[in-house]
């Protein structure tokens, strides 16, 4: 999930490596072959993917926080169970993705440490607060909807472990998306207060969700290598447009108004949205979103307060191994 905005390719360093191997590698990519962990790959390919997959994993884990914020307050037992299961799925995605990243040679601990130190990013969408129950519906509908747009092409990513992880992740995400939309349908069929809650949530999330697809193609600097390596198959603007076209009829069905008075439908049926305020995106990316500090603080707190538990587990495992080898020696 949530990596489109974060893609930054490394400088092309093929010149430093065996040109023959590099050509062979590119030929495999061009032939739509999957690259596997033990295959030769350019250092920059490894680095780009490690960064992208780990950022994706961090996003899943940080993404547990805004939704987790409503687990203890979900309005019915059915909703409570569904939300808890959903957030648990996100955690599973994170674990799965860390495992995929580890196949490239970095440990989960290293990757998590980089995130906690503020050196690695996660999706900015999770730096916005969940204020009402409608935010839970909206996140499922729009945030997961946008994530699916990003992720479906990643199921064909050239790196095998990432592509395979995405197939499973996408199945669960599309379930989450429908679950979120169903919350919205329920709200929009409910009382005036519930409808207003749904509209308010859409108003707050719409523009940040459009920003999830990353900067406009005209200013996006780093897509070339990722495209050539078939990590990325569609541009930011292409995916954003696809998302908007899919979402507008859904909003119409709900009877909600997309907070973009300038939006028009062109002759080809595409919904043309107004200019996005990229200064907000840059501010949130720079750490100045409404929840950046809270999210980092929550992750650091869990990590620090859990240190003694992880130490205990490691100490016990070491003792047990020692006992077993002592027994074996007898």
């Amino acid at each position: 999930m949530y990596t489109q905005a974060l893609n930054t390719a490394e400088t092309d360093d093929r010149g430093l490596e065996d040109a023959g191997k590099a050509a062979q590698f590119q030929a495999r990519i061009d032939a739509e072959e999957r690259i596997e962990p033990n295959d030769w790959m350019p250092a920059a390919y490894r680095k780009t993917l490690t960064r992208q997959i780990s950022q994706h994993a961090h996003s899943e884990i940080v993404g547990m926080l805004p939704e987790g914020n409503w687990i203890t307050r979900a309005p019915t037992l059915r909703r409570k169970a569904a939300l808890l299961a959903k957030v648990q799925d996100e955690c599973g995605h994170g674990l799965y993705l860390y495992a995929a990243a580890e196949t490239l040679g970095s440990s989960r601990e290293e990757l998590v440490d980089a995130m906690l130190a503020g050196k690695a990013k996660y999706s900015s969408i999770f730096n916005y607060p969940t204020l009402t129950w409608a935010d839970i519906g909206t996140i499922g509908w729009l945030v997961d909807g946008a994530a699916i747009m990003n992720q479906i092409p990643l199921c064909r990513c050239s790196y095998g472990p990432y592509a395979r992880a995405m197939i499973r992740v996408c199945k669960e995400e599309s379930f989450h998306q429908r679950q979120g939309y169903e919350i919205m349908v329920t709200l929009c069929r409910g009382s005036d207060e519930q409808k207003a809650m749904a509209q308010d949530a859409l108003n707050r999330w719409w523009w940040p969700v459009l920003m999830m697809f990353g900067p406009p193609d005209a200013t996006s600097q780093h897509s070339d290598t990722s495209t050539k390596w078939k990590i990325k198959r569609f541009s930011n603007d292409e995916l954003r447009q696809k998302f908007v076209d899919a979402t507008v009829p859904q909003a119409q069905y709900l009877g909600l108004t997309i907070p973009d008075p300038g939006m028009t439908q062109d002759a080809d049926g595409h919904w043309r949205y107004s200019e996005i305020d990229w200064s907000e995106f840059k501010q949130v990316l720079a750490g100045n979103g409404p929840c950046n500090r809270d999210r980092m603080a929550a992750r650091r707190k869990a990590h620090e307060e859990g240190a003694w538990v992880r130490e205990a587990a490691a100490a016990y495992a070491a003792k047990r191994a020692q006992r077993q080898s002592a027994q074996a020696a007898e």
């Binding site: 884990i61 547990m64 926080l65 987790g68 687990i71 203890t72 307050r73 979900a74 309005p75 019915t76 037992l77 059915r78 909703r79 409570k80 169970a81 808890l84 299961a85 957030v87 648990q88 955690c91 599973g92 994170g94 674990l95 860390y98 129950w133 919350i183 329920t186 709200l187 069929r189 409910g190 009382s191 207060e193 519930q194 929550a298 707190k301 869990a302 307060e305 859990g306 240190a307 003694w308 538990v309 992880r310 130490e311 205990a312 587990a313 100490a315 016990y316 003792k319």
Partner: protein
């Protein structure tokens, strides 16, 4: 906006189902508080999973209580529209998460009981309770295994984890007696073969605890004084705060569909 509490006709069978439903919901709710904040991702997953099992058990038991009661109540009304004095859960399950040791010791004490309890309840003459027991027994066996493994790791891990686990055992011990208490209504159900006598499980429960605690190099307290009151609605101060959070939506927006 004040929303009135529902009234529940607590016949012995309704009360019996309600007590077990409240145990499962409150413990499930407590575990769900960890989601996103656990010491490792594997435990975010595991604690959420156990919470989901417990919330599932609660839903079945509430639905059954509502059906037996035969009024207009349902699982959500029973969960969201009773106040602290109407809740019937064990004091043990409402105790705050504290640190990871406290959460796991609470789980261990409860699951060691629930595992035996649900297995025995599979023979209930009440077909619904027997069916709920058959499902819950499988879940509880896993919960107990998970908690036991952690008690051993923490007890036999580092000095710090040992001290925290021992402290949690001592802190929570006084809340375990309530699991084995029986009142007149329950005694009648036991005679009718609908409920089982929890007292008959105490020996095996203690044996499970001793085995695990010994392996963990921990000790069980000698103190046998036990705190009671949850089954009759005399709770600790903690439950009211939990309920105000749990029930906030239904109390703020009464009578809506979500």
């Amino acid at each position: 906006m004040a929303v009135a509490n529902i009234q529940v006709s607590e016949t012995p069978l309704v009360l019996y189902a309600l007590r077990r439903a409240d145990d499962a919901l409150i413990l499930g709710h407590r575990l769900s508080e960890w989601c996103g904040h656990a010491p490792m991702l594997e435990e975010d997953m595991a604690l959420s999973n156990i919470a989901l099992d417990l919330i599932g058990q609660a839903r079945e038991l509430y639905s059954y209580a509502a059906k037996v009661e035969g009024n207009d109540n349902d699982e959500d009304k029973l969960a969201y529209l009773r106040d602290v004095r109407q809740y019937r859960n064990l004091l043990l399950v409402e105790q705050p998460n504290g640190d990871f040791a406290q959460t796991l010791v609470r789980q261990f004490f409860y699951s060691a009981f629930a595992d035996l309890y649900w297995r025995a309840m599979m023979n209930s003459r009440d077909a619904t309770l027997a069916a709920i027991a058959a499902k819950s027994e499988k879940e509880s066996a896993y919960h107990l295994r998970h908690a036991s493994e952690w008690i051993i790791r923490l007890g036999d891990g580092t000095d710090e984890s040992h001290a925290r686990a021992q402290g949690a055992i001592e802190h929570l011990w006084a809340f375990t007696g309530e699991m084995f208490a029986v009142d007149d209504g329950e005694r009648a159900l036991i005679h009718a073969g609908i409920a089982i006598d929890p007292g008959s499980l105490r020996g095996r429960w203690l044996q499970t605890l001793s085995d695990v605690v010994n392996e963990a190099t921990l000790v069980l307290p000698q103190n046998d004084w036990m705190q009671q009151g949850g089954r009759t609605g005399r709770h600790s101060e903690h439950l009211g705060h939990l309920l105000s959070e749990l029930q906030s939506m239904q109390r703020t927006f009464p009578g809506l569909t979500w």
